[in-house]
């Protein structure tokens, strides 16, 4: 059993209570910083711990917090991104259901670090159950003086509200999410100004992923070196929640050291490959990462190692495909997703994705022509000219299919049928 930090209080059948969380050291970090720390000290320990954003972009959390200037205007906001709409990703839901106060304490600590007094949890409609848990637990924390006015007698005020989304993948992107919260049509907004300078209602806003925030209390309480030491690799820090799905025996969420090998996750934690299945490829970190071929079966799963392999750790949502899975079919499905969820703001994405989807459909259904491959490559390049990171995300599976599984695509075209039936 590896060290359980974020899942320390996880039970298979119920939510950890506030009492359990406190018993395990919960809210000690908050009490400590309120008593004797400065904002800069909190920012510094998070920076030293190399806590990289768990929402996909791997931006250092401490650095982000420190970009809110000391003399920035008020009110300031912390937004917790619980949108989690990328196919294959479900870790944030599991984290909230396991130990909701860990998240609440993390949001409050981030608030302290930038002297914000309001936190907003942005949550997708499919997670209505989690939204209700959070509202209930916020009220409990307020009753115990852990949230709200004058927290633990320190004079620091911090409120958290739950903001329900109407449900659309682009709302997970920072600037689109801020527009969504402000009741505007949630199209992205290219910086500058950066949200930490002018975010919600033109005020400084720090937005972090659920898992990133959940790490914060533990780092503040146990220190940066402890956190770095949790990782298996020199280049990693902390633990990571890996959500694994697809062709494995036991899909689910596992908390493992950053840098654990992919093979170990599959074999020791997910119960191995499904009956009769052989590993062919996986998407290592959600729908907007590339196919990782079998030659990387033993890769250490951290941000740096995947970057070196020309891929991304993303959200750590591992989707496993076996020797019987048609990767053209998988990519077609992903392009259906991206084409449907495109916010429609810019041309390369809005117009390009449907074309890509239809070309792939032709190939998958046996009507593909050899020249389609070149067109797909060119269309993939155009996606990089789009307005936000959504379209380059869509390019990742497409481009890696064409790079690593060109034979499979070719076979579809030559046989005029899907070789997998």
């Amino acid at each position: 059993m590896t060290a359980q930090v974020l899942f320390k209080n996880r039970h298979p059948d119920r939510i950890a209570t506030l009492a359990e969380y406190r018993h395990s050291g919960g809210y000690e970090a908050l009490a400590k910083v309120l008593a004797d720390s400065s904002r800069q000290q909190v920012q510094q320990v998070l920076t030293d711990a190399v806590l990289l954003g768990r929402g996909g972009a791997a931006f250092p959390a401490g650095v982000k917090l420190s970009t809110v200037a000391a003399d920035a205007p008020y009110p300031r906001y912390v937004v917790c991104n619980a949108d989690e709409m990328e196919p294959g990703t479900f870790k944030d839901r599991v984290l909230i259901h396991a130990d909701p106060h860990q998240l609440l304490e993390g949001i409050c600590l981030a608030g302290f670090a930038v002297d914000a007094h309001e936190g907003i949890i942005f949550i997708r409609p499919e997670y209505e159950g989690a939204a209700r848990i959070l509202e209930r637990e916020i009220a409990l924390a307020e009753k115990e003086g852990l949230l709200g006015q004058n927290i633990l007698g320190s004079g620091f005020d911090f409120d958290i509200i739950v903001h329900r989304s109407g449900g659309r993948y682009i709302c997970g992107e920072v600037t689109a999410q801020l527009n969504a919260i402000m009741g505007r049509r949630p199209n992205p907004q290219q910086p500058p100004p950066y949200p930490t300078e002018k975010g919600l209602w033109d005020r400084p806003t720090v937005l972090q992923n659920v898992e990133t925030l959940c790490c914060m209390p533990h780092i503040v309480r146990n220190g940066a070196d402890w956190f770095k030491g949790l990782a298996r690799t020199e280049s990693g820090a902390g633990t990571k929640i890996f959500g694994i799905s697809g062709r494995v025996r036991r899909p689910g969420c596992f908390e493992l050291p950053m840098g654990v090998r992919l093979s170990e996750i599959i074999e020791n934690h997910a119960g191995g490959m499904a009956e009769g299945s052989r590993f062919k490829a996986c998407l290592p970190g959600g729908a907007s990462t590339g196919f990782l071929p079998a030659e990387h079966y033993d890769i250490p799963m951290d941000f740096e190692s995947l970057k070196q392999a020309g891929n991304r750790l993303g959200t750590g949502a591992i989707m496993v495909f076996d020797h019987r899975t048609c990767l053209v079919g998988v990519t077609l499905n992903l392009m259906e997703f991206f084409a449907r969820e495109s916010c429609g703001w810019c041309t390369p994405c809005r117009e390009g994705l449907p074309v890509i989807r239809e070309l792939l459909r032709e190939i998958e259904e046996g009507r593909g022509k050899p020249e389609y491959v070149g067109v797909l490559k060119e269309m993939g390049r155009h996606l990089w000219n789009a307005y936000c990171a959504f379209a380059p995300g869509a390019a990742a599976p497409l481009e890696s299919l064409l790079a690593h599984f060109a034979d499979e695509v070719q076979e579809h075209i030559e046989r005029k049928a899907c070789p997998f039936g």
């Binding site: 989690e84 009741g183 899909p251 449907r340």
Partner: protein, 157 residues
């Protein structure tokens, strides 16, 4: 027309926040619960309550998957058609649902009970193939569990 008590409840919530329009999705959900879907009248009413133009409200209303601008049944079945559910046989389950309910995706049964809407990954890939009925999750699904569920919902009605 909105009943007075619902109107009052929404007005109170709106009065309690700094920026009324941050509640636009909540208000649309409340009106949807009342009317069954977001009618043109509901768009006007939401705009009035929030101090927005109907156009601004509709820009938001038409964007979101869970805000229905057209009539839906009492039970809205959102069946996941994203990659992991697809891998686990989701497409044939969607066809099964279509056939059982005698409706195509996007349609509502004649008795007004069920609407079938394919959606993107609902975040329960560990329970694939999965679906939501009125925001409650079910999975992993089989034709048998679907039969049972539909029967229960019909009976409950």
């Amino acid at each position: 027309m909105l009943p007075e008590n619902l109107k009052k409840e929404l007005q109170d919530r709106i009065a309690a926040v700094d920026h009324p329009r941050e509640l636009v999705v909540d208000v649309l959900f409340a009106l949807q619960a009342h009317y069954g879907f977001v009618t043109d009248e509901a768009v006007e009413e939401a705009a009035g309550l929030l101090g927005m133009t109907p156009m601004e409200v509709d820009e938001v209303a038409t964007f979101y998957t869970f805000v229905y601008r057209r009539p839906v049944g009492k039970y809205v079945i959102h069946v996941c058609d994203s990659v992991i559910c697809w891998l686990e046989g989701g497409r044939s389950l969607q066809e099964y649902l279509s056939q059982k309910l005698s409706i195509a995706p996007g349609e509502t049964t004649a008795d007004g009970l069920f609407t079938l809407l394919p959606v993107c990954c609902i975040g329960y890939c560990d329970r694939a193939p999965a679906m939501l009925i009125n925001k409650k999750v079910y999975g992993p699904l089989t034709p048998e569990t679907i039969d049972q569920l539909l029967d229960e919902l019909r009976e409950a009605h």
